[in-house]
């Protein structure tokens, strides 16, 4: 007997749908609204699962393949589950000259996850970054939307306490 597998239907909040309407006013084509709408969808759902991407495609009337392919191009669009907080530590040249690589090792040990990994409690994802424009205060990182510079292991310990 065939039993229907219930597919998870993705919905977007009223607030987000209103924001999408506003975004649509700003561009002459539907396709151009894709990046801003992906940002909104990610804010709402935490990451962009295949279902969320398809729902975005349907909402904007764009080919699903286009939406998936576009999302996969950009580092900030996360197509795998993420922790509640993203630790984005730069290890590009200037930060490297100031110890970013050992700091990255330190974080990886402290959180007991590989680079790119997420802690089992879902609290943090550790992401090595290219330059984030904080080379005057190296090493530098973003935690979610907050910028932190002149990092040391002790300072990182302090900072991470603030993110539950």
């Amino acid at each position: 007997m065939n039993q229907e597998v219930p597919t998870k239907t993705v919905t977007f909040s009223e607030t987000m749908l209103r924001q999408v309407e506003e975004v649509c006013q700003r561009y002459p084509t539907r396709m151009a609204t894709l990046l801003p709408v992906l940002h909104l969808a990610q804010e709402e759902h935490g990451w962009l699962s295949g279902e969320v991407l398809d729902a975005v495609a349907d909402l904007l009337g764009l080919p699903r393949a286009h939406v998936r392919s576009t999302a996969s191009f950009y580092l900030f669009f996360r197509t795998t589950p993420q922790g509640r907080h993203l630790i984005m530590l730069c290890d590009n040249l200037t930060c490297m000259l100031h110890g970013a690589e050992s700091l990255l090792e330190y974080l990886s040990r402290k959180l007991d996850i590989p680079k790119g990994g997420t802690t089992p409690d879902g609290r943090f994802t550790l992401i090595p970054m290219e330059c984030i424009g904080g080379c005057d205060t190296p090493p530098a990182m973003l935690v979610d939307k907050d910028f932190h510079g002149n990092l040391t292991p002790e300072l990182v310990d302090e900072i991470l306490k603030k993110y539950a």
């Binding site: 990046l35 801003p36 040249l93 424009g133 080379c135 205060t137 939307k145």
Partner: protein
């Protein structure tokens, strides 16, 4: 020279319209709106302003190329993608002086006849995005954006467009693709954006700092601007100084200021009395220079004559403890990671360079590898759609030119001679 581009950033509340107006903001726009578009364009041409985003193309000339077809709407895009490692000069402008950028864009839109604009901001600058959103709302409220600007009949709509973490989107045609809602893959030129840009319309793309120079030129006049620094690349310029210096930071100096003055007078020299080894003058896409070049002026022509490029003015200082192979390896990892993958020489070549550098750094290299590095570089340079690939070979060719013996020491010794001694 007193700072002009950075003059407001220390003032509390500098990002608000109230403070900007109090400090004389939007006066240049009033003046520009009394001028005909062609007069504004002529003024910018005469100023000698060259683009601050990396390529140094004369701004007035670029504007002059824009299609004159009145039936096609024109677009002005601000490149706020600031992704070149070591560059953080646009950041204070975006975070502390957003109205200077908006004013620069409205004046520029008037000159080229653009009705629509976007600021393409990198996702790595979330704070700047908040500041810009607020500043744009204020500017709309007070009639500096939208329809009939300052009652002068000018129409210019401007919005913020957030990038999503791809260095290549700083390349102007990739930026255009990205605004259109696509993967940020550069376009083959021609056609040039001046004729076929975003949404198929005539488009001008300018860097943040370039656009912030525009109100200054209108306010003080082209002659004043042209008289700052060398004749073929004049004006004030923000240099991002980082690496092994006592006081890293953004320093606004006249174009043509010697590297030495930036590094020592502004930056306080190298910590712990160490010796200089190498300086990257314009971001990792530009080849390294050495101690022998300290008296070279930081301007497009002088740095080029010295064998490198001014780029966006990101000066990265490395002292004697720095391993040049490790530096080149890290930068090739960056370029390989950021290659959009459209052209084979770039996609594959940057990966090969990264691999060969990795094995030399790990002590597994062979002497033939040095020629191989140059050979692969030759096969990348000038053979691709965009300039990312040309920049990507710079760390290899630059370090091999001045530090070949360091590569050889890695190979001969079977290990990195700097391991354990490197500062990082």
């Amino acid at each position: 020279m007193e700072p002009l581009l950075l003059k407001r950033i220390q003032i509390p509340g500098s990002e608000t319209l109230a403070v900007y107006l109090r400090e004389g903001g939007y006066q240049a726009l009033r003046k520009a709106l009394e001028m005909a578009p062609d007069q504004v364009l002529e003024e910018v041409k005469r100023s000698g302003l060259r683009g601050r985003g990396g390529a140094g193309f004369p701004t007035g000339m670029k504007w002059g190329f824009t299609s004159k077809d009145p039936k096609r709407p024109k677009y002005l895009l601000c490149n706020a993608d600031e992704g070149e490692p070591g560059t953080f000069k646009d950041r204070p402008l975006l975070e502390k002086d957003p109205h200077a950028l908006i004013e620069g864009m409205v004046i520029s839109a008037h000159a080229i006849g653009a009705e629509y604009g976007y600021i393409y901001l990198r996702a790595e600058y979330p704070y700047a995005s908040q500041v810009l959103e607020r500043a744009l709302a204020e500017a709309y409220e007070q009639g500096f954006l939208g329809g009939n600007i300052l009652g002068k009949g000018l129409h210019f709509d401007l919005h913020l467009h957030m990038g999503a973490g791809a260095y290549i989107c700083g390349e102007e045609t990739a930026l255009i693709e990205s605004i259109e809602g696509k993967r940020g893959e550069p376009r083959i030129k021609p056609p040039f954006p001046a004729n076929v840009g975003v949404f198929g319309m005539p488009t001008v793309v300018n860097n943040v700092e370039t656009l912030v120079c525009v109100p200054l030129i209108i306010e003080r006049g082209a002659d004043w601007f042209a008289a700052v620094g060398p004749k073929e690349s004049p004006g004030p310029k923000i240099f991002s100084l980082s690496g092994h210096v006592v006081r890293p930071g953004n320093y606004e100096l006249p174009m043509g200021t010697p590297i030495r003055a930036l590094m020592y007078d502004c930056g306080g020299g190298i910590p712990q009395g160490r010796r200089l080894k190498a300086v990257i003058p314009g971001g990792p896409s530009t080849p390294v220079l050495t101690e022998a070049h300290l008296d070279v002026g930081l301007d497009f022509g002088s740095i080029q004559a010295a064998g490198s490029m001014l780029g966006c003015g990101a000066v990265i200082v490395m002292d004697e403890t720095t391993c040049m192979v490790r530096v080149a390896h890290r930068l090739l990892k960056f370029f390989h990671h950021e290659s959009c993958g459209k052209c084979t020489p770039c996609r594959e070549g940057t990966g090969w360079l990264e691999q060969v550098l990795d094995r030399i750094e790990e002590g597994r290299g062979r002497m033939e590898d040095l020629d191989l590095l140059l050979d692969v570089s030759d096969n990348i340079r000038g053979k691709t759609v965009c300039a990312l690939a040309d920049g990507a070979v710079s760390p290899v060719t630059g370090t091999l030119k001045y530090f070949r013996e360091e590569y050889e020491a890695h190979i001969r010794g079977g290990r990195c001679p700097f391991r354990g001694k490197v500062s990082g």
